[in-house]
């Protein structure tokens, strides 16, 4: 209530100061008195409408008082009441229409409230969705002249690969030869999370993006503080530098300008801080800092300019003046093709993928977002249809009033204006409510968005979104507000006056048609949500090939002092494993270089001894290191041969384990004992065992061929840890974290995650649209049920005379109820018949978003149809009960 009082006080500012000085206290007191009217205790909505009317009234009179400027004496006396004597000015008429509309609504507060609530949810969801799509899909990238930015990647024409990074050597050649680009920059795969240490403070992990030195120039964005990278930093012997994000600078250095020139250790390398980027700046994803690539093969994440066979860089170029993306695309395609001819071994089968930078960023999400946008629009239409149903009902009950006014010579234009004012008030109230709802929705959505959705930080309900919601409201108000009016305008007033029985078959037919449309649309929405949910359910039921329950995963790095020797690294992993096994409840501990479901891919080509090379279909496998215990820790079954052995040491014969897919695809089902080499390295590996497939890239992605080499034979300096426990893994998080940290105190505090959590994360892109669309679908279902119920109740009331007569003649109440239910089911069935072909059309494009379910899944269609019929039957039954309460005696007496 305080808010309304505040709004009223704001509205009073419409009056000139002189008026306010005299009367403001009285006005507020009168408003307070009106608001505390005890009669309204039971009708909260009337209180709101009173407040709304008072506010509009104050605005109206205040503004008019201002326009009049001088006191009443200079203009025709406002005391004259006869309207003919007063000049009708447009402001006057509009205000009067608005007040008239408010009064009309105040007489039917529950109807008004129902419409406003429906529209609030409809417009709120639509506005929230618009904000999301606007930030992710519609807005230009946040760099100057960003429409001139073009992304260059490559694909392997021999596989189904869509787009992949380009190798550093190819990048340098492309950049050198290109004429369509002003300059081309690159970013390394994706950000990585090295250990960062500032002076002697505790180490922590930060998100660091390795980029080419010219990236910020290509993006035409200068650091807010300090300088950008220079070509000197591309030299392996050049200075080691870093540029901080604004956010990280504020968080870690408190925004101190003296930060420039300080050093920090990133992954063990001392780097000088030379700049801070502007607030909100990011490339692809928000990170803590950027470091320049120096083409140095010695460092783990740096690059060798000679590497041509491993794609590492996603390129972004700025078009030269008067060059078009099409020209750039043609040039890059030609240049890469000539590089393929020049270096056939390294560049076999690759082709250029050129598109605008924005397209590259959002292409993975476009379809899902548009689909959700369509779903939310469908829901909005259902909400608006419901408003039309209620307005038509209200108009029907005012038929005689309107006919009288028409007969008395009231102009149709005025009637349309008044009708529009009424529906616009409703839809604008819905827009305001919807705007606030959208803010709340976006706030709660932000945590639940798939992590890979770009530009999440830019999703806000801003002026554009409010404008969009308002626009939607006005369109809905005009289109659906005109519907009942059109009904009146068709009727000849005299005719209508003559048959004042109140029956209005036109209105009943229109409402039934609206309900049929609602049911059809709701069906389409529910089918969409149905197949998405089925596909999520199927993905959840997939056997990943490894144990999920009770497994905790984290990571460890070997301390720098012991990392130099292979023995030191092996000892670190062995000791840590013993420590972890000592925790009560821990069953098994294994290591692997990659965590399943995290989606990290290191694809490599193998050559099998004794088999001719097949250049057109290279044998690709995913490469990982694993300890012998990794397989029992995740309960990955051994299909053939043996697992790794402690005897597999750096100085013994190199061995490998492959998965069943690799054996089937590359070894013709017989792998144990065979030898292969990878990436033409010369080292020959002997296959000693075959293990079961695991779904490494997500429950909904098929298993791919994999090879594992032993962590005791080729020990790395860091690894993921998998701890299987006998119960709830998260209960052991603390002791596991302690042991891992004790093993290397210099390492940042390890992040822990259960396998369950990883599964949930990996399914977010699937769960997100499924849950959202289901929410829309359920709301649509509720609205249709409400609409159907309202229409049936109205029909029962209209038929009360007939029902009364029939009951007097001996028909039982159940017969009457049955006829109402049949009516409801008939209407729903018509909606379904119309809905099925629309659903078949609308969900056809859904295929790409589905897993293991067809968009025309018959089970879903049957289930949804049954659900709708069931809900309709319930609504009809409730309405039908009214029919049984008709008192035949009363009806007959009335007639």
């Amino acid at each position: 209530m305080k808010l309304l009082r505040w709004l009223y006080c704001c509205a009073l500012r419409a009056y000139p100061a002189s008026f306010r000085r005299r009367f403001a206290d009285d006005l507020v007191a009168a408003f307070d008195d009106g608001m505390s009217n005890p009669e309204w205790a039971a009708h909260e909505e009337s209180r709101w409408l009173f407040a709304l009317r008072s506010i509009l009234d104050a605005l109206n009179h205040g503004l008019r008082r201002r326009l009049r400027r001088a006191p009443a004496t200079t203009s025709p006396s406002p005391i004259l009441s006869l309207p003919v004597l007063r000049r009708a000015n447009p402001l006057d008429t509009t205000m009067r229409d608005i007040l008239w509309g408010l009064r009309a609504l105040q007489q039917r507060p529950s109807m008004a409230l129902a419409v406003i609530l429906t529209l609030t949810i409809g417009i709120g969801a639509t506005t929230a969705m618009f904000s999301l799509m606007d930030a992710v899909l519609f807005r230009e990238l946040p760099y100057p002249a960003s429409d001139r930015l073009v992304a260059v990647q490559q694909r392997d024409t021999r596989t189904e690969q869509v787009a992949a990074p380009i190798s550093p050597a190819n990048y340098l050649d492309l950049r050198e030869a290109s004429e369509t680009f002003e300059d081309v920059a690159g970013t390394l795969f994706r950000p990585f999370g090295p250990t960062v240490r500032i002076d002697d403070e505790p180490a922590f992990s930060a998100q660091v993006f390795t980029v080419t030195y010219n990236l910020f120039e290509v993006l035409r964005t200068e650091p807010a503080l300090g300088r950008g990278f220079s070509s000197a930093e591309a030299d392996p012997e050049g200075p080691k530098t870093a540029i901080l994000s604004h956010d990280f600078w504020m968080r870690t250095f408190g925004g101190a300008p003296t930060t420039l020139g300080r050093t920090l250790s990133v992954g063990g390398i001392q780097r000088e801080i030379i700049g801070v980027m502007p607030e909100g700046f990011y490339v692809e994803v928000p990170v803590d800092m950027w470091i320049p690539m120096d083409y140095d093969a010695r460092v783990h994440f740096a690059l060798a300019a000679e590497i041509r066979h491993i794609g590492m860089l996603n390129l972004i170029g700025r078009l030269a003046d008067r060059r078009t993306p099409a020209e750039a695309s043609a040039e890059m395609t030609g240049l890469l093709a000539s590089l393929v001819r020049e270096y056939p071994e390294d560049n076999e089968g690759i082709a250029a993928v050129v598109r605008t930078a924005k397209e590259r960023q959002v292409s993975a999400h476009t379809e899902t977002l548009w689909y959700m946008g369509a779903a939310v629009a469908g829901m909005l239409v259902i909400a608006a249809l419901n408003m039309a149903v209620l307005l038509v009902a209200a108009a029907a009950s005012r038929q005689s009033e309107i006919s009288t006014r028409l007969a008395l010579g009231s102009s149709r234009r005025r009637l349309v204006q008044q009708g529009l004012a009424e529906s616009l008030i409703l839809s604008l109230a819905g827009a305001v409510g919807g705007g606030f709802l959208a803010v709340a929705l976006i706030r709660s959505l932000l945590g639940a968005l798939p992590a890979n959705l770009p530009r999440q930080s830019e999703i806000v309900v801003d002026a554009r979104a409010w404008g969009f919601g308002l626009g939607v409201a006005v369109v809905a108000g005009v289109v659906f507000g005109l519907m009942p009016l059109w009904l009146h305008m068709r009727t000849e007033p005299i005719e209508a006056l003559r048959s004042r029985s109140g029956k209005n078959t036109g209105s009943a037919r229109l409402r039934r048609a609206l309900i049929v449309a609602e049911v059809a649309l709701a069906f389409v929405l529910l089918i969409g949500s149905g197949v998405l949910l089925r596909s999520l359910d199927k993905a959840l039921r997939v056997d990943p090939g490894f144990t999920i329950a009770g497994v905790m995963t984290t990571g460890t790095a070997v301390p720098a002092a012991t990392a130099e020797s292979a023995e030191g690294r092996i000892a670190h992993f062995t000791n840590l494993r013993d420590e972890l096994l000592a925790i009560p409840g821990v069953v098994e501990v294994g290591y692997s270089s990659r965590t399943p479901l995290r989606g990290n891919s290191v694809e490599t080509e193998i050559t099998i001894e004794g088999r001719p090379a097949t250049p057109n279909s290279p044998m690709m496998v995913e490469f990982r290191r694993a300890s012998a215990e990794f397989f029992p820790a995740l309960q990955i079954p051994l299909v053939n041969g043996r697992l790794f052995d402690p005897q597999d040491r750096p100085d013994t014969m190199p061995v490998a384990i492959i998965n069943a897919s690799a054996e089937r695809q590359h070894f013709a089902g017989d792998a144990v004992g065979r030898q292969f080499s990878w990436n033409n390295s010369g080292t020959l590996f002997t296959v000693v065992g075959v293990v079961g497939d695991i779904r490494h890239f997500g429950l909904d992605s098929p298993a791919t061929p994999e090879m594992y080499i032993s962590t005791t034979q080729f020990p790395n300096d860091s690894s993921a840890i998998f701890v299987r426990t006998s119960g709830d893994a998260s209960a052991l998080a603390t002791p596991i974290r302690q042991r891992v940290q004790q093993a290397n105190p210099a390492d940042p505090v390890p992040t822990m995650q259960t396998m369950d959590g990883l599964v949930a994360d990996s399914l977010t892109p699937r769960r997100f649209p499924a849950i959202l669309v289901s929410g829309f679908g359920l709301f649509a279902l509720l609205l249709s049920a409400m609409g159907l119920y309202g229409v049936l109740v109205y029909l029962v009331e209209e038929r009360s005379h007939e029902i009364g007569v029939r009951m007097a003649l001996g028909a039982g109440p159940s017969t009457m109820a049955r006829s109402v239910v049949a009516d409801g089911l008939r209407t729903t069935a018509v909606g379904l018949v119309i809905g099925v072909p629309i659903a078949l059309l609308a969900t056809r494009s859904l295929g790409a978003l589905l897993f293991d379910v067809s968009p025309t899944d018959p089970l879903t269609y049957i289930a949804i149809a049954a659900l709708l019929l069931g809900v309709a039957a319930t609504a009809s039954l409730v309405a039908g009960r009214r029919a049984t309460r008709v008192d035949p005696a009363a009806v007959l007496t009335r007639s």
């Binding site: 009367f23 007191a29 009168a30 008072s54 009443a72």
Partner: protein
Amino acid sequence: MKSTEEHLPLKPRIFEILLALLRGDDHGYAIIQELNRSSRTRILPGSFYRDLESIEAAEMIEEVDSPPGTAGRKRCFRITSFGRTVVRAEARRMEQLAQVGTELLQQSRGES
């Protein structure tokens, strides 16, 4: 000389306000409460004070000192003698109108 005629007929709301002030000096807010008691719809303060201001400008009422004990800065009003004249004229007009109406009704009944 102020003309009574130019203010007739009075808007019903203004007539009611003047009638309320005939019972004694009062502040605007009290008049609203009075009118709310006697009418079915709630009076919106904005339009009420606009009316109040206009009849004050027409010198039908005037502001007087608030009686002691009035809370806040509420304005107290008194009907002027001109206001009384207007009320009287309006009452007479209505009386005449009622008379004409009654006669017309009687005539029409006689015809039917």
